[in-house]
Symmetry: D3
Amino acid sequence: MNFFDVKGINAIEPGNKIDGFFLVKSIEVKTASNNKNYLDIMLSDKTGDINAKLWDMGPYEETSYETGCIVKVRALVSTWKNTAQLKIEKMRQAVEDDGVSIEQFVAAAPYEAEHMYGIISGYVDNISSNDIRGIVKLIMDKKRERLMYYPAAKSNHHAIRSGLLYHIMTMLSAAEKLMEIYTFLNSDLLYAGVVLHDICKVDEMDSNEIGMVSEYTVEGKLLGHIIQGIKEVESAAAEIGAPKETAMLLEHMILSHHFEAEYGSPKKPLIPEAEMLHYLDIMDARMYDFKKAVDDTQEGEFSQRVWSLDGRSVYRYNF
Amino acid sequence: MNFFDVKGINAIEPGNKIDGFFLVKSIEVKTASNNKNYLDIMLSDKTGDINAKLWDMGPYEETSYETGCIVKVRALVSTWKNTAQLKIEKMRQAVEDDGVSIEQFVAAAPYEAEHMYGIISGYVDNISSNDIRGIVKLIMDKKRERLMYYPAAKSNHHAIRSGLLYHIMTMLSAAEKLMEIYTFLNSDLLYAGVVLHDICKVDEMDSNEIGMVSEYTVEGKLLGHIIQGIKEVESAAAEIGAPKETAMLLEHMILSHHFEAEYGSPKKPLIPEAEMLHYLDIMDARMYDFKKAVDDTQEGEFSQRVWSLDGRSVYRYNF
Amino acid sequence: MNFFDVKGINAIEPGNKIDGFFLVKSIEVKTASNNKNYLDIMLSDKTGDINAKLWDMGPYEETSYETGCIVKVRALVSTWKNTAQLKIEKMRQAVEDDGVSIEQFVAAAPYEAEHMYGIISGYVDNISSNDIRGIVKLIMDKKRERLMYYPAAKSNHHAIRSGLLYHIMTMLSAAEKLMEIYTFLNSDLLYAGVVLHDICKVDEMDSNEIGMVSEYTVEGKLLGHIIQGIKEVESAAAEIGAPKETAMLLEHMILSHHFEAEYGSPKKPLIPEAEMLHYLDIMDARMYDFKKAVDDTQEGEFSQRVWSLDGRSVYRYNF
Amino acid sequence: MNFFDVKGINAIEPGNKIDGFFLVKSIEVKTASNNKNYLDIMLSDKTGDINAKLWDMGPYEETSYETGCIVKVRALVSTWKNTAQLKIEKMRQAVEDDGVSIEQFVAAAPYEAEHMYGIISGYVDNISSNDIRGIVKLIMDKKRERLMYYPAAKSNHHAIRSGLLYHIMTMLSAAEKLMEIYTFLNSDLLYAGVVLHDICKVDEMDSNEIGMVSEYTVEGKLLGHIIQGIKEVESAAAEIGAPKETAMLLEHMILSHHFEAEYGSPKKPLIPEAEMLHYLDIMDARMYDFKKAVDDTQEGEFSQRVWSLDGRSVYRYNF
Amino acid sequence: MNFFDVKGINAIEPGNKIDGFFLVKSIEVKTASNNKNYLDIMLSDKTGDINAKLWDMGPYEETSYETGCIVKVRALVSTWKNTAQLKIEKMRQAVEDDGVSIEQFVAAAPYEAEHMYGIISGYVDNISSNDIRGIVKLIMDKKRERLMYYPAAKSNHHAIRSGLLYHIMTMLSAAEKLMEIYTFLNSDLLYAGVVLHDICKVDEMDSNEIGMVSEYTVEGKLLGHIIQGIKEVESAAAEIGAPKETAMLLEHMILSHHFEAEYGSPKKPLIPEAEMLHYLDIMDARMYDFKKAVDDTQEGEFSQRVWSLDGRSVYRYNF
Amino acid sequence: MNFFDVKGINAIEPGNKIDGFFLVKSIEVKTASNNKNYLDIMLSDKTGDINAKLWDMGPYEETSYETGCIVKVRALVSTWKNTAQLKIEKMRQAVEDDGVSIEQFVAAAPYEAEHMYGIISGYVDNISSNDIRGIVKLIMDKKRERLMYYPAAKSNHHAIRSGLLYHIMTMLSAAEKLMEIYTFLNSDLLYAGVVLHDICKVDEMDSNEIGMVSEYTVEGKLLGHIIQGIKEVESAAAEIGAPKETAMLLEHMILSHHFEAEYGSPKKPLIPEAEMLHYLDIMDARMYDFKKAVDDTQEGEFSQRVWSLDGRSVYRYNF
């Protein structure tokens, strides 16, 4: 029995041996009932996650790996019912000569961050109100560095590197198209609302540069990205001397974009652009989740339950 | 003081005298505390409604008018605080020589019914699946006559003549645009879902030919347009011999389009096209209601509470 | 220490050795922390379920057993606190000479399926309306084969072989008695409603012939037995040319029998027979669950939590 | 135009003159906009209610009538749309020679109170447990006088004279029949539960002897009939020296019979007899309300909204 | 029959004539069914409100009175059942010689605004943290003028002149006492939280100087006093250079003080001082409402329903 | 490596060896995958809990220990990530010579039971109404023995020995202080309400004398401490001949103190003392839970989720 190179975690078949590079998503030393320590590791790549055990470990193993490093692994797929699991035979850290980089292992938006940032900036440049454009640009500049890699969520929709930019860009494009139909909407407000609605997620969550969020920040837990966003608009408006009415409308759009009080919006949308912003947001999130769930499912089958779709198992028809 | 011709009910100013034609929306004989009978009438035109009283009435007045007829009215605007009200001085039925027709008084979709039906048919003709296209066409043909004038609701969004066609047409156009972004969606299913989702409102409600719904039908109350729609799809699929899977998917889209059980959908959307159908539907209804509420409101003011927007008073900014 | 013959799983006492036949309800190969595979089996008979482990297994054991087969087991009851568990010493498939059949191991309704079907048919034959009787008979005939063994639910009340027939038969008998008191009820409608209300559970779930449901069907998940039942009535009514009013009333009874929207009924009962149908249904389900829970509990004690009784632990008084 | 004798309020036709006896349900002096006082009266008989006005009144009229008296009325039915209303021409108090008594005007249970009390006592006498029978009899004796005329509710189901006895009697009879099917139920507990569950409504509400409830009592508002009933059982059990377990089970049945916390039951039923008691109670209330609503409705029509049926308009089919 | 001087609206007895000064709370010209205009006025003083009609009016009456003016009224109490109502015989505006001022007619806090402001300032001066004290003082100074007369709500608890100061002062005093028991609480945070939690009600509502709120402001409707308060803290902290942690904790206290999302707090309290702030706030509001309701009720009776006590009718015992 | 004496479970550091006395909170024999039995023990002291395993056990170990005994343990802290766990090397029961007593290991209120009982009695003695004082004293005497050690809850706030007394005493003291502010409250009622509101927790739960609750009683599950408390008041009032109004008010306070129906109060508070009782109760519980959670958390960190604080993780600021 030979060890085969892995195509991707999703392609691992029970009963095989495999050989490949993976990202360490989490790692923990545990004690088995026979009183020996072993490593319990979650490995991942762009296609998914797999659990792995390293049973015979010495002091070296205990201290050599950490979350976020790349490892080369040789292993058996020891369990073949329901869920595959790796029994590691050999493991080492990746070195420079291996020619692998962390970006290869992390799910990311399908476009380059710079490219998406550029497109978004294009929309912003077309905002005709100097006040609105000024506020948006000021905040975007301030958050720019983190926007490059932040996901849009910790574990729901767009929880991928640069997922936040991707979410904003897609929503802007949908906004543009829908304004051809609902022509009474004010594009300055709507574009600004789209760019700003989630932008303080970069302050609400702690993400490393590969877009993995380990935790919420203290301010994120005590206030949340909606309140943080309102504070940013208030400061930016003061800085450029924008009228109170302008700041207030943008703040209202941020405040109301979750629509329901129980989801964090104490006020419901009271202007049409705020209402549309809400639907653009949820529609984009839902389409993302549906596409992902359907892609991971066989035709004629139902997906795993998707937490961010209220626990639904969605159906992939054969059509 | 002369009687001026009315521009429209919305333009009636307290303190004036007016002269004009109106549609009788409702009429009732009431007894005043001085023990005399009087007529309490709700008059309407395309721009709104106004209450009117005919105080001195004889047997002729009691029996000459009914809901749906056009009357010529000369009246004083007797109350000038909060709400204008007409005190009728003279009133008669409109006659042929007046050259007025009921269509002039009833709010209607901004496009001709035939035109909208044609556009919708164009989308349907482009459905590539023979089964889906066949089912949709069969049902559209069967409902065609009533589709021409039915509103989309009794008193909410699109409660205007031909409002149902207008709602479907707008949603098709939004669906087309959003599929440029969410390219994985199946256009056959989505277009069919849009056309069929509310089509049995023509069976659920009783509407006269000017699009005024007086009541729900018995079957409308006992089953509702969602269940009625599913039965139509089942029959149509049987008639053209479409596969069960096809009928099932269309039925599922109709069944789940209200999304929440409490709003009539016992199943949530489980295919992406059903999810998108829900958002197209609610977004179009909300944009319609917002536009109407904002149009009826002064800049810097809040609208009346809008029942179909969860009782919100929406804000018209001055921007 | 000898191995005793088992009286039934409910009678297994911790600390003993046992010898007996069981049904394999589920079986899975797992890997222990010492890296060896073992079999994790759920054994069952008419009296309950017990977990069992086969620790030392070779290739033979891995491939010889499957869900639904009967096995002979010799085992120790290795854990005596809280929950008993079997440590298997010997195990083999049952063979013809053992003289055991699967029916001996599966909980079933207390009456023969044919007998219950006959009683139900008797009620149906007494329906005086040709239309109603015709619709009910047509659907019963179509589902007859599966009705013989289907349970009434996957894991709640009447989740036993022929449980659906048992549920219907008991409800018919309760309906008959209550109509002696509430004499204004129409027996044709009520008997028809009882027979039809859950009949499409045979289309909603996949059951094997011993009444074990492994999964819901695709149509069951996308539409559900209520909608499936309405479609059946619509087809049957069309086939025999019954009036629309008749079909509509039967469809309304099916549609409303769960009463609450959140439990799948978008319309509440609007005729007295539909209201009564709801109470007959829930009362029979609740009595079944209460009796089962009380029977499994000692006097003066509380039962395990019963999921289908909203998680209640019910009390068995000593009286 | 002659004045015709009234058959009953439900038979009054707009446009007629009428002459008849009625019960004054409420009476109020109001001031009209012409600054004159008039009497606003609600008249009733067994078949319904009607509003009446006495426009020209002097000091005599103001002081001669009060709630609960019988009056002779000659009147015109002055309004003939939607709701009939009486314009009183002559009115006087009924005198002994008129030969009318209040019982003729008040809706009452279809059986004599003594008869129903006797039937209920028969069930109680058959309770085999001395303790349970003793508790029930003690409480029934104590409440006997008021039980004779109390309704079962202020304005919902069985809000008629002796309605409480009627409700109890019907439930006992349904309980008896259902125990033929659900044979494991303990009849002592169930009969006792039926008799006691609502018996403290006589302490919760203030009713006059014709079964009209004007108000809740102070204790009724601060504690409610469920808590009051538990206190009665506790006292009665102490008085006859019944075991604590017996009292506790009866108290639990009273406590849990509304089932939901939001309807007044902080504990859900935990013994089967308590569960059945709940269904007997709600089923009897619902059948009463449905029958009444259907009886008041034309075939093919929907009833008025019934508050105690969650606001439903129920349908009277033509079958 | 003489006209008696009024002691106060609460003391007006039906059947009398009265003579006195009142505040016009609202005034409207209406048209009676006899086609004449009349004035419909709501009069008020510190003890309550009463409705009044002026039936015979000329052009002078129509234009001489407005909301907020003081009038001298001579009137009959024309209706004596249920609710008293005034029939105005003579009415004129109060003049300087009458020696009446608006403060005499408006319910106000039982302490002078300056006195309460001083007490509150005393608590603030004792805050030991320069940052927290600085933020609180800056905001108090900015709002000082309006704080003097603003009520704490439009129509609920403390809806009286200077009600907001009164609410803050009472809460500070309760906070001080409870910190003797719950000694681990930080008094700087708690005192600051009490002062700031509702302070932006002066920005959320439009009040005239006698503490009558006619309307919410635009920003009040789009953002609300919680969000407005957070923005004030953010600005003040920036102005004095307070650390981010300090501002964040104060903002969190404001944000969470309504506790439930549905009442406007998207985050629940996460520090003990925020939790205590919530209970101080609701306890003070509830005690205010209970005292007012009980004071307006006879012993042994129940009060009118109090909207801000979830519609409860509270009981005044005789004890 | 030496074994160090333990300071307390909270002070155990991973990677050490320890030697100390602990209370056995629960103990279970389990079977490992290598088919050997081992002991799984939860050890506790006043500072917390820790899990321990005894891997090599013989018949002696299986039978020598039980819940509630004190053991001397020598162990390694074998796992050092996330949660510490003990691997027991030596263990024996504590003997008299060890000089340890169970009270040293159980969390208890910070005051002696007798002391707290005395303080509470002082408040009761000051109740001026003979009836109220009589009822309270009678019930306190009856429950005195169990009050000495009962906790206030099974696992929430004040779940410590004598926690119920501590809760009552603290609430009395807060009540006293708040009545200095809300002076219209009746102290007799409020003090009585505080003492009685939870007193039947001694009947609702089974606690051993060290304040550990293993289970609810049968009556506790079927009725609950609120109903049990009402029954006690009713009996005590009868015994001393107190007026019905007095008993009713005390019963109402007990009945309504959980405020919401879903938390066990079918009636909301209708007198001010009942309202205040509710806030005293919840405020004291919440302050207890917050203090405990904050004490167990590092500065700048969030606590574990606290179940009785609706699952919140509370924040310990560094201030």
